[in-house]
Amino acid sequence: MGTDAITDEELMLRIGDGDQTAYGILVDRHLSLNLGYATKLLGNDAEAEEVMQEAFIRVWKHASRWDPERKTRFTTWFYRVVTNLCYDVGRKRKPQENVEILETIASDETSAENVIAVDQRSKQVKKALEELPQRQMTAIILCYFQGLSNREAANVMDVSLNALESYLVRGRRNLADILREEKDSLLKEIG
């Protein structure tokens, strides 16, 4: 039986018994995706890495208390852990503290000009996302970048489906407004 056939919840039960191989499989499955999520929420890769370490410490420590009868999906629980840890980091930041801008990961196929343009736009989106209220930003990241369904995202955020959809609609509208304003001010500066 391949490792793909084992569900995350079964792996958690094994981890609860001290199975380090099961832990390794779970890390392999979820680290990359959740690191991207934490990086987008925090806008800082060093903080995101710290969050991921803490999140996996919680997986290891609390696995023995994993209750399969609750029917909780591991993915939902883990997203919640990462989200709450990111919120904690955000709260601890000083208001004036600027987060480090991530370095551009350029594709070899794209031209230098295009890379600069993409880089510029991505920074604008990042800045605009950071201006959104926390819940709207989380909803957009979960549904748009992490590929979660609206219901899954609502479970992660512990809100109703209607509330999640409302966050998404308002978030996208606010994001578009912020980006439009930035574009207008840029055009004014040039013109």
Binding site: G16, G18, Q20, Y23, G24, V27, L31, S32, L35, G36, T39, K40, G43, D45, A48, E49, M52, Q53, F56, I57, W60, K61, H62, A63, S64, R65, L102, T104, I105, V118, D119, R121, S122, Q124, V125, K126, L129, I140, Y144, F145, R172, L175, A176, L179, R180, K183
Partner: protein, 118 residues
């Protein structure tokens, strides 16, 4: 800004801000089982709680009952007013204490005893 343009921007941002985990981070995370102790299982199952609590509560109840029984005034204990009652006999006009009286003496009563003959 329309939805298509916004999606395009979001796609670009998503690709750019999706870092792969570094080797250092993976190593740190894989070391966690060697460095962190797992929490012991703490079950809330009714059966386990019953098995845990029943003998302890029984013991505590028995101890309380024993304490009340032994600590209270009963037939086996000598109450203060009972102590003073001891046998006094007169023998040839003289007051003598019952020598076999084994209870405690109420010394005060004994000292201030007034001889009715006087």
């Amino acid at each position: 800004m329309n939805d298509i343009k916004l999606n395009e921007y979001l796609d670009e941002y998503g690709k750019k801000y999706s870092p792969e985990p570094s080797r250092k981070l993976i190593d740190k995370i894989m070391r966690i089982p060697h460095e962190v102790e797992q929490q012991s299982v703490f079950s809330w199952s009714f059966r386990e709680w019953t098995l845990f609590l029943v003998p302890r509560l029984s013991g505590l109840t028995a101890a309380c009952v024993m304490g009340i029984y032994l600590g209270g005034a009963g037939n086996t204990a000598l109450a203060e007013d009972e102590v003073s009652v001891f046998d006094i006999e007169t023998y040839e006009g003289e007051v003598v204490l019952d020598e076999i009286e084994s209870t405690l003496l109420d010394v005060e009563d004994f000292i201030f005893y007034e001889d009715p003959a006087q």
